[in-house]
């Protein structure tokens, strides 16, 4: 049980690292959202692995469901924002969003 928790946490760190790399280096707005999704996967895996190790799986599942619902709301809003931005700039490149730059 303990070794399994360590194994899960190791892969959680990998997922969050990959997501952060995507957020820091990619220019495509949709790719940035995919990076956020990868980080969310790491977080849900951490919650379930923690619940499994602590023998409180019910509570962990409730938290996972909350995370997923919030994640859906965030993704839907962000995708709508991206579609609107694409209509104005004709591009998905986040470097072109410089209208508010001082």
């Amino acid at each position: 049980m303990n070794n399994m928790w360590i194994l899960n946490m190791g892969f959680v760190a990998l997922l969050i690292g990959v997501g952060l790399y995507c957020l820091l280096t990619m220019r495509n707005a949709v790719k940035l959202l995919i990076g956020i999704e990868v980080i969310a996967k790491g977080v849900t895996l951490a919650l379930v692995a923690g619940g499994f190790a602590r023998n409180s799986l019910m509570l962990a599942q409730c938290l996972v469901i909350t995370v997923i619902v919030v994640d859906v709301a965030v993704i839907a809003t962000a995708l709508a924002l991206i579609i609107n931005i694409n209509r104005h700039t004709k591009s998905l490149d986040v470097r072109k969003l410089t209208k508010l730059k001082g």
Binding site: M4, W5, I6, L7, N8, G10, F11, A13, L14, G17, G19, Y21, T25, M26, R27, N28, V30, K31, L33, I34, E37, V38, K41, T44, L45, V48, G50, F52, A53, N55, S56, L57, M58, L59, A60, Q61, C62, L63, V64, I65, T66, I68, V69, V70, D71, V72, A73, V74, I75, A76, T77, L79, A80, I82, I83, N84, N86, S91, L92, D93
Partner: protein, 204 residues
């Protein structure tokens, strides 16, 4: 062994989703990673979380991604920096080494076990985490309102997109020729109507 292979599959498809240039393939890779995560949840006896992961994340979010990619396709090609893609294997290797070292140190510090939970999942969800549900409802409404606000058509856009022929349907003034056509039958008795029109006008 199954657990380890599922974890490796999850990370591999997540990396593919990040690195593949085609956005459609990227979204599909993300969905496959979600399926791997859901199977992991089932394997850890987290059935409800697994069902949510498959239906909402692998289903709904993938559909949202594909819709957004389809709506922005054609003029949304972005060239990613080749340097960042080339550096990724080094970054991942360094991350894995640091990860292994940190996890070795954590081996002695395991989270303490708590007493086994009593009741069912529904009891925990509805009785202990009631405010979470309120927050979830709030998040859903906030998302819906945000999407509605972002796709709201302004008056300027609506007026600009309306063609001239739609004016009578929208309640505006129809063109003069159209009004004459709408007032009578075009074929039968046209000549008779034209002949009687001056008389009707004199009565009034």
């Amino acid at each position: 062994m199954l657990h380890l292979s599922l974890l490796i599959g999850l990370v591999a498809f997540s990396i593919l989703a990040v690195l593949i240039r085609d956005l459609l393939k990227s979204a599909i890779s993300l969905a496959v990673a979600s399926v791997f995560l859901a199977v992991l949840f089932f394997e850890m006896n987290a059935v409800y979380a697994g069902v949510f992961e498959v239906s909402v994340v692998a289903g709904l979010i993938t559909v949202l991604f594909i819709t957004a990619i389809a709506l922005t396709r054609g003029d949304g090609d972005v060239v990613e920096s080749r340097r960042h893609l080339a550096v990724f294997p080094l970054f991942f290797l360094a991350l894995a080494v640091i990860d292994i070292l940190v996890m070795k140190r954590l081996l002695g510090r395991i989270p303490a076990m708590v007493n086994p939970e009593s009741g069912t999942f529904a009891d925990v969800l509805w009785n202990q985490r009631t405010f979470d549900l309120v927050g979830q409802i709030g998040a859903i409404f906030a998302g819906v309102l945000a999407v509605l606000a972002l796709f709201r058509r302004g008056e300027k856009d609506a007026g600009h997109e309306s063609p001239r022929g739609d004016a009578p349907l929208a309640g505006g003034q129809p063109p003069a020729g159209d009004a004459a056509l709408m007032g009578r039958q075009p074929h039968t008795g046209d000549a008779a109507l034209m002949g009687r029109q001056p008389q009707g006008g004199s009565h009034e």
